[in-house]
Symmetry: C3
Subunit: 265 residues, 3 copies
């Protein structure tokens, strides 16, 4: 894989507007800074028309959705669509409750998303495939993950990214599998949410090449995690969080290219 967009992020420092959950906010902001983007976290209804106009991408994460958040997200999403910037959806735990299911359906109705990223439980739900998720965790099922990625991409006319031991990325036509990563990602909170934000930064500088951008984003992030875990025991979860930020800070095109294990089908 040729890394194209990381250098663009470090050069352009794109402003990424995040409407995200209270658990992930700090980690996502730090991770975006580490790769060279400029994070702005806001869920104020009053500035949802203004912010997308000065931002380069909008990331919507429903992890702790409540109250006026759906209205806020729709307003921001529509404004971002008008402004022509990519909008990323992270449908955290969408299958867990009727409220989440309805609100995400509503978001998908009202806003055009360039990227939908989630674990297999979440994207299986969006694809209408049977799957046993647990809360905000991936859960278990027997469906074909590649088919889920393709179906979400087709159905919502977006790039779909299914995160897991292997990541599956599809735009409906193409499919990429990323074999980088570490099981330690599943042992710290909000690591998926941060990946959603990272996808936003890559999409921001990709000038419409969203599939390529998401492939590079997911590979870069998985490589950073792999390197962060390399010297650790699987129980050293605190240190993994520290190392992950170090590795995101140190990421370069060369590091990505040397470590990428991505296969296109």
């Amino acid at each position: 894989m040729k890394s194209v967009y990381l250098d663009q992020i470090r050069r352009q420092n794109p402003l990424i507007h995040n409407i995200t959950n209270t658990v992930a906010a700090h980690l996502s902001a730090n991770g975006l800074l580490a790769i060279g983007a400029s994070p702005l976290m806001s869920a104020a209804l009053e500035e949802m028309e203004a912010l997308p106009q000065i931002s380069r991408a909008l990331v919507i994460n429903i992890g702790t959705l409540s109250g006026k958040d759906p209205e806020t997200m729709i307003l921001a999403g529509k404004s971002a669509n008008r402004a022509g910037i990519p909008v990323i959806l992270d449908p955290v735990g969408v299958a867990a409750t009727p409220y989440r299911r309805e609100m995400v359906a509503c978001l998908l109705e009202e806003v055009e998303f360039e990227v939908i990223r989630g674990n297999v439980g979440e994207l299986a739900h969006l694809a209408g495939v049977a799957w046993q998720a647990k809360g905000v965790d991936a859960g278990e099922g027997e469906a074909d993950v590649a088919a889920i990625a393709r179906r979400v991409a087709e159905q919502y006319r977006c790039v779909a990214a299914v995160s897991g031991k292997t990541d599956y990325i599809s735009d409906g036509l193409r499919l990429a599998k990323i074999h980088n990563g570490t099981p330690m990602f599943t042992r710290i909170t909000a690591s998926g949410c941060l990946l959603g934000a990272v996808c936003g930064a890559f999409a921001a500088v990709a000038e419409g090449k969203v599939f390529e951008a998401v492939c590079e984003a997911c590979t870069a992030y998985a490589v950073a995690g792999e390197l962060a875990a390399a010297s650790l025991k699987p129980t050293e979860l605190g240190q993994f969080g520290v190392n992950l930020m170090n590795e995101l800070g140190a990421l370069s095109a060369a590091v990505i290219e040397q470590n990428a294990r991505i296969v296109y089908e």
Copy 2:
């Protein structure tokens, strides 16, 4: 002490629903993951009936209570009571303001709590004992801490856990004192909140043996803190936070049993 429940948590990965404060959310989620539980943080009124039905415990922490939170907590608490899962209360800074006092009184009226965990200032208030707390900190007083634990347990028919240099756990009849721990717990934020969440995970797998579960939870957590602090200067607070997650990740029945300093009265 025989460790029974940690292995159950690691085996069952119980889903723990947390309604917690914005300061503690990230740490609590990470700590729950580290011990093997599956955290879900939500304070959306709209899903408070649904979430307790798929969760194994509910942890209510009032640290940054505001707006519709009391209503949300009561709805979730009642739903959890109906579902028969343990509900844990962490009455952060309850004595600090009339608002907190009233809202906690209201919660205690409407919801049955299996566990109430707090510092001595907070539980002294609930026991109706004079105590000089300071904001959300423990403060100072002369009352008998064991008596406070017993009285809270009796009055609210729950297991009461008073955290401090020595932890006191009581179900009204029995009393345990845990002599593990480290003063560094008081120098990082939300360490008490995380313990409340950990109590939830242990209670979730205890099949009604809540006193035993809370004793093991408080011992396990204090042991992890002790080990995290062992190699550090008392000022290395950043590193303590990192080590604490590492030690929670590495905790095992053997580690708990080897280090436990618990006395039953």
Copy 3:
């Protein structure tokens, strides 16, 4: 520079009430604990009259302002003014949207602030000086930063602190330049927000000597950052966050005095 106030903070453990953003809450609470203060984070309208009466300073940070927050901040600010405790304003990203501009104008109308701290983009806006800020980042401009600090101090009758490569502190008459610090501060989120909270802790024990307190606060914080970065590569951002807490924990009058590079004009 003679360090006077750090020891007072460690001795008195002043309660600092923070109304802050969701990204900064955890870091700010930990940083305040590390320097010896006692943090309380609350944005509950219902306790905004009560909390300033038991606190020693109030820090208002608009980073993720929304909904009833402006009302809450004004109520708390007026209560703090009546109680005679210092109030600190951190106008995060004030120039980014009309909503932020209007709400900050409103706050400045209704509440007397002893300290206004921000980056040059934020304080340039308050001083009415042309500046190209980007979201919540400092941005670029050609104005004289010392003049901006002086003008904000005069206009709002406060101590103004402009954070950057060099910090500028002014009370309208005096001006101090602090040459300590590290570029790594700009690569982690909420480092400015934490400095605002630290200014609150120093102002709390300064008995009206607010200019001196803010000079010491900004020097102490910049020295801690400098020491935290000393052994690191510029990409080790995770470790920088850990080290910063360690160094804040280890700060002493001697460390500040040995490292301070402050010039008064």
